[in-house]
Amino acid sequence: MRRIWVMCGAASILPLAGCSGWQSALDPKGPAAGELAWLIWFFTALCTLVWLLVMIALIMTLIRRARPIGDPLVLDATSERHKTRIVFAALGATAVILIGLTLLSFFANRTLAVIGSDAALTIRVTGHQWWWEVRYENSQPNRILTTANEIHIPAGEPVRFILTSTDVIHSFWVPNLAGKLDLIPGHENVLDLKADKPGVYRGQCAEFCGAQHANMSTFVIAEPRPIFDAWLNDQLRPAAPPASPEAKAGHDLFLKRPCVMCHKIGGTMAGGSVAPDLTHVASRQTLAAGTLTMSRGNLAAWIADPQGIKPGAYMPVVDLNGDELNAIVAYLEGLR
């Protein structure tokens, strides 16, 4: 019997193992997420405690032998006073706990609100069906960087996110770093966060936004400041010119075929902005908003049959023969 209890206990702890990792609100890696995690734990603990107390009281009442019931119309003053006291005590305790929790969450909110008040970096994230447009704002316009799906931030520094959308409501949620916040068309929401340590944190759209909502993820990559600066400077360069004859053919095809209608590659005639910016696409770790890892094969697979990988996504199946497909892949692979 005892062994069963132990096994049950062990089994119930097992799911908690899933709480750590690169996409978990219970494994905070920054002050905003930390504040929220602390709240979660505290709320859960307190509520569990209250629940246990209530259960104990209930069980005690059930177990206690029933006293003979007197005349219900005759009130026993002492007993009534006693009962009233208990009710009011419980009421008071409830009020105190609720007010306490309210205050806790209020102060947690205040803490969240000031995290990014001195943020040196502002990143504008625009939700699209089904990818993220990421723009690094800068007071010097020619140092504004637009990229997609992969967000690099300096570790240990507060970062301000401005969240908006162009089509439907999305929600930006990187559980290890911050709470979720909606991206609303025509409206700007502000989310501040800080990653304490370098690392890769997965984010996911947290508001159902259509067919490929599940495959709308992002990666926040926190790096030490010098590495981040180097990355930013690197990304500001125009796209690498095609290095091989095959890549050159791919470059020409890219500009001749439907690719050019939606995508941008800096330094070329391709200036589309309704699909991810591909200027440095091969430097990213994933493809199609975190759906595939970046590799030549995955690039080819995604171009050849996006509808097989993300059915309903807005990237169409384009009629390309083997040579054309490989040429475009060779070109894109060189865009580091």
Binding site: T293, R296, G297, A300
Partner: protein
């Protein structure tokens, strides 16, 4: 009467369990043998292949038995029939060395194929070939 019934039930159950166990044993042995044969033939390790195939895009174009998310319709289906096919990629005769070459540098063999030269290492290609041959 009652004991007869229980005996019948017990006996049938025992036979069924034994049959299942026997089938399982046979199956495991067969799988073991098939994997071992495939590993030996290709010089790869079949069990390492799934993550390689997912990372390098095989899963994007092919439907591959046993690989999660591999529902691609671009290239041919890779399943138990692969080992019995006569040609690889429509040009090479089907043997382990040819399959490994095809996986690595398909476009050197047939420059017009849509299958990209994946750029993976020789050993990774051997692992994949082992996995694919072990599907039978």
């Amino acid at each position: 009467m009652r004991s007869d019934l229980s005996r019948l039930v017990f006996g049938t159950s025992a036979i069924v369990v034994l049959a299942i166990l026997a089938a399982l044993t046979w199956w495991l042995q067969r799988t073991d043998r098939v994997i071992r044969e495939a590993n030996n033939a290709t010089g790869g390790i079949a069990t390492r292949a799934i993550s390689i195939m997912m990372a390098n895009g095989c899963a994007g174009c092919h439907t591959i038995t046993g690989v999660p998310g591999a529902h691609g319709l671009v290239g041919p289906r890779l399943d138990a029939t692969l080992a019995t096919k006569v040609y690889v990629g429509g040009v090479l005769s089907n043997n382990p060395e040819n399959l490994i070459r095809w996986i690595r540098v398909a476009r050197e063999i047939n420059p017009h194929t849509a299958m990209p030269s994946t750029g993976i290492s020789e050993q990774e290609a051997r692992d994949i070939a082992a996995y694919l041959y072990a599907l039978r």
